[in-house]
């Protein structure tokens, strides 16, 4: 069974959302998904870059009312 986690990263400025995402994903397994909710638009570039470097995949990005929701599927290490 894959797990689906959520992280509230609102008000955090980059690179903190990336660091919190990185630290949370360390405890997850390949195939799991993590959805992060952020307010710093910097995540729109930083999270995809971080995912590319580390072999994870951004599966969806939603923007509304100053909030950005990004879902990441954890890749195999």
């Amino acid at each position: 069974m894959f797990s689906t986690d959520q992280l509230d990263l609102r008000r955090m400025l980059c690179p903190l959302p990336v660091i919190r995402t990185q630290d949370h994903i360390k405890g997850m397994s390949p195939g799991d998904t993590l959805t992060i909710v952020c307010t710093d638009p910097g995540v729109l570039t930083d999270i995809p870059t971080w995912c590319r470097i580390n072999g994870h995949e951004v599966t969806s990005t939603e923007e509304a009312d100053y909030e950005i929701k990004i879902t990441i599927q954890v890749g195999a290490e």
């Binding site: 609102r10 008000r11 400025l13 980059c14 690179p15 903190l16 990336v18 660091i19 990185q22 307010t39 710093d40 638009p41 910097g42 995540v43 729109l44 570039t45 930083d46 870059t49 971080w50 590319r52 470097i53 580390n54 923007e63 100053y66």
Partner: protein
């Protein structure tokens, strides 16, 4: 860390590179990778990094987000980047630097020692096991922290000693363990020195790197006069030299005015800042015009009297569309309770220049 005997049996050596996001750390890592060493990057987030704040709070609709240079460097190099939050531990470096400050509140030498030491501790962790550390330091590049005399101080006081390799100026320094053991070829390292950036730019071209970051001052906001001034004002206002992450983030948001020693007001400059400040309504007393369009303002201070609130409201309403009106209705929100008040916006000639932090 592995023993020398184990290392001899394992030819692929591992180095951890301090990646700031600038050109020098990019080149230093690349030079060592070219010699067949497995390199991974490490980046420390102190809270003051230019990366973090330049992204910051801006009007989402207007500006295109900027990239994080450390992540960009790692992607260019095709290496992993380990980003580490050191905000709490770094406080002691900022507040009590053994080697003192640079031009402003930048404790560069202590900062370098701290970072190399943290990289060393990380490299020793069981799951990591790295053999040496790389930095992009160049002798003479920075007047305070990158001098011939400070290089051995950083190596010694960080505990890294001869496991600290500076590939861009290694030929100007005594041989280190990676060179002596033949893990890297000293002849293929460099002898850059001084403030001239041309050799780095030529090397970048040789490697095919374009569009790299070249921060003018330093790698963090502590080298910035205005930011350091705001931090000093924060300490003076509170009567104690301390800060937390919200404090250092808020120093990048809005206009800061201190009309009285015991409080200051932070006035948003645009919609993105307005929205960002609103997230702090539990911590601060908030003021916003309701009869006119105007910015949100936060009051940072303790024991606020009615006169203080009124003065703050007059200042904040001065930055809205009601600035020329005789009076403006403002909403003051404290601990979740809002009350409306009529105030006269303060004319700009009644805002002394020294109120601006």
């Amino acid at each position: 860390m592995t023993t020398l005997q184990e290392l001899a049996q394992n030819p692929k050596k591992k180095a951890v590179a301090l990646i700031s996001g600038g050109l020098d750390s990019l080149l230093a890592a690349k030079v060592v990778m070219e010699q067949g060493v497995h390199v991974e990057g490490i980046n420390f987030f102190t809270g003051f990094c230019v990366e973090g704040h330049t992204h910051a709070i801006r009007n989402m609709k207007k500006e295109k987000p900027k990239r994080n240079n450390a992540l960009w460097v790692a992607e260019q190099l095709g290496i992993k980047l380990h980003m580490i939050d050191v905000i709490e531990e770094y406080k002691d470096v900022v507040l009590n630097p053994k080697h003192g400050y640079g031009q402003h509140l930048n404790p560069c030498l202590d900062c370098k020692i701290f970072m190399v030491n943290k990289a060393l501790a990380w490299s020793w962790m069981e799951e990591n096991q790295f053999d040496f550390i790389i930095t992009g330091e160049v002798i003479g590049q920075r007047p305070k922290s990158q001098r011939r005399e400070t290089m051995p101080v950083i190596a010694r006081e960080s505990g890294a000693d001869n496991r600290l390799l500076r590939p861009l100026c290694a030929k100007n320094l005594p041989e280190t363990l990676p060179e002596r053991e033949g893990w890297v070829d000293r002849d293929k390292l460099y002898d850059f020195h001084g403030r001239n950036r041309k050799p780095q730019m030529a090397l970048a071209e040789e490697f095919g790197f374009e569009d790299y970051a070249q921060p003018a001052g330093g790698c963090c906001f502590l080298t910035d006069a205005s930011y350091s001034g705001k931090l000093t004002d924060l300490w003076n206002g509170r009567g104690t030299r301390d800060y937390d992450i919200d404090d250092i983030m808020l120093l990048k948001v809005g206009r800061h005015l201190r009309p009285r020693p015991h409080f200051k007001v932070i006035v948003a400059r645009e919609e993105g800042e307005n929205h960002y400040l609103r997230g702090y309504q539990q911590q601060f007393t908030m003021v916003e015009a309701v009869s006119h369009i105007g910015p949100l303002g936060a009051i940072d201070g303790a024991s606020l009297s009615d006169d203080d609130l009124k003065l703050a409201a007059r200042i904040i309403s001065r930055y809205g569309q009601g600035r020329d009106a005789e009076s403006v209705i403002v909403r003051i929100t404290r601990n979740g309770v809002s009350t409306d008040h009529e105030v006269a916006p303060l004319p700009s000639d009644q805002i002394p220049a020294d109120w601006h932090v």
